[in-house]
Amino acid sequence: MKRILVYSFLIGYLAYGCSCQDENSGKSKNTFDEIIGEALNQEDTTNVSDKPSETIQILQNISSSPVEMAALLQATGVPFNENYISTIENIDRYNTDFKRALNLGILAADLGYLNMYKKTGPVMTIMRGIRKLTEELRVQQFYDFNTIRRLATNNENLDSLMYISISSFNNMDNHLQKTGRNEISALIISGTWLEGMFFATQVAKYAPNNKEVVERIGEQKIIVENLVDILAKYKSDSRFADLHSKFARIYKAFEGVTKTVVPGEPKEVEIDGIVVYVQSETSYVDVPEKTLENIINVIEEVRYEVIKI
């Protein structure tokens, strides 16, 4: 056994050594093939490829929406509220990958919210939950728990903490998509989006005059439509059918949301040393009071059902 370990380390070292040699001798292409290759979606390198589908790409992209949502809340002066964060008290009850993935999404969004408000205290509690769920889902390798713990406990370099949290999530999601675990990815993203919406709707519940937040809620109609489509793909599984009906309920609550686009003049400004193009068209989303109330209620209900699953 000892000999096996020695040989395996040698083989691992050789793999390491070969890569280092390439790196040192002229930044070789092989090295970069390795660097990029593992994480690259090779389907994308074909001529103007539409793969993965637009729906999948939209879903991959919305993983960042809770961060943007939290950034908006913070920018509009909404104070931090610990009550928006989920707890990990139910975590042992998440005994299937279905339950784990949904609630991993919720905890990942909570982590983004905490990072945005630089509230490092509860980060470790949420990370315990994320660690358990990622281990059970066999994707724990994408989170550097030691670094996250060090950054959070020392309250140091919080931008790095934010970066590591988001990039870990993105890498995990890419891996799930590439290894054919699309349904797990869809569940995580559904949970993430739901929690981001929970933050926003809770704010709107008590501050319905926060126009920017209400508008951002209304703008999510396109996202929930895509989520309903993607969940429909897995409806042959009764648990997915149930989740699909929950998200269809959410989508129905958006029925009164309308959007208008007003043309304008584009312009360019310089911000932080780069040229920023300011879009000419501006969209306005109207969310009637009753519609907003319906959205707030249904998000609260579905989120509660998912956590207590």
């Binding site: 096996i4 040989y7 395996s8 083989i11 691992g12 793999a15 390491y16 890569s19 002229g26 930044k27 070789s28 292409k29 090295t31 970069f32 093939d33 390795e34 660097i35 990029i36 290759g37 593992e38 994480a39 690259l40 979606n41 994308d44 390198t45 103007v48 490829s49 539409d50 790409q57 992209n61 919305i62 993983s63 960042s64 961060v67 943007e68 950034a71 908006l72 920018a75 390798q141 934010m162 970066y163 988001i166 990039s167 993105n170 951002r216 703008e219 396109i222 686009v261 304008g264 400004v269 911000i271 932080d272 040393g273 780069i274 920023v276 193009y277 879009q279 068209e281 969209s283 989303v285």
Partner: protein, 143 residues
């Protein structure tokens, strides 16, 4: 025989772990240079040399939110001639690109989104040269 299988599996495991760490390093180094912006997502590109005109490109759909200023920053891999050109489209309308009219490239370009929706991010390597690159999407907080 059993030992040999274990050896191979463990060797691959260690090798892959190292490769994965490299992948992280590349995105990390690019994300370090986004300045006063918050990382949201990264896109990785690798394309062989191509004589086809226009050069082969990759399209990604991204959801952008009204009121957010996005920054797109490109980092090209050493050892390749190809330099990444990125373009952001709303339908058929090109909104931003890092390719200036004089043919030079900038490392980053910004987009102040006024209309929430699904946009297309198109990327290719200038003149169809072989290249590998990372594009970081982040947002700028204006103080």
């Amino acid at each position: 025989m059993k030992k040999l299988v274990i050896l191979i599996v463990l060797g691959i495991f260690f090798g892959l772990n190292y490769t994965h760490a490299q992948s992280d390093d590349l995105v990390n180094s690019c994300a370090l240079n986004i300045g006063n912006a918050t990382y949201l997502k990264d896109f990785k590109y690798k394309m062989p040399q191509s004589a086809i005109k226009p050069p082969p490109s990759t399209k990604n759909s991204v959801v952008l939110n009204k009121g957010t200023i996005y920054k797109f920053s490109a980092c090209n891999a050493d050892g390749y001639e190809g330099k990444l050109v990125f373009e952001l489209y709303d339908g058929d309308t090109k909104l931003i690109t890092n390719l200036k009219p004089d043919g030079t490239l900038t490392d980053a370009a910004g987009f102040s989104c006024m209309k929430t929706g699904v946009y297309s991010l198109n990327a290719y390597f200038l003149d169809g040269k072989e290249g590998a690159a990372v594009l970081i999407m982040s947002y700028i907080t204006v103080k």
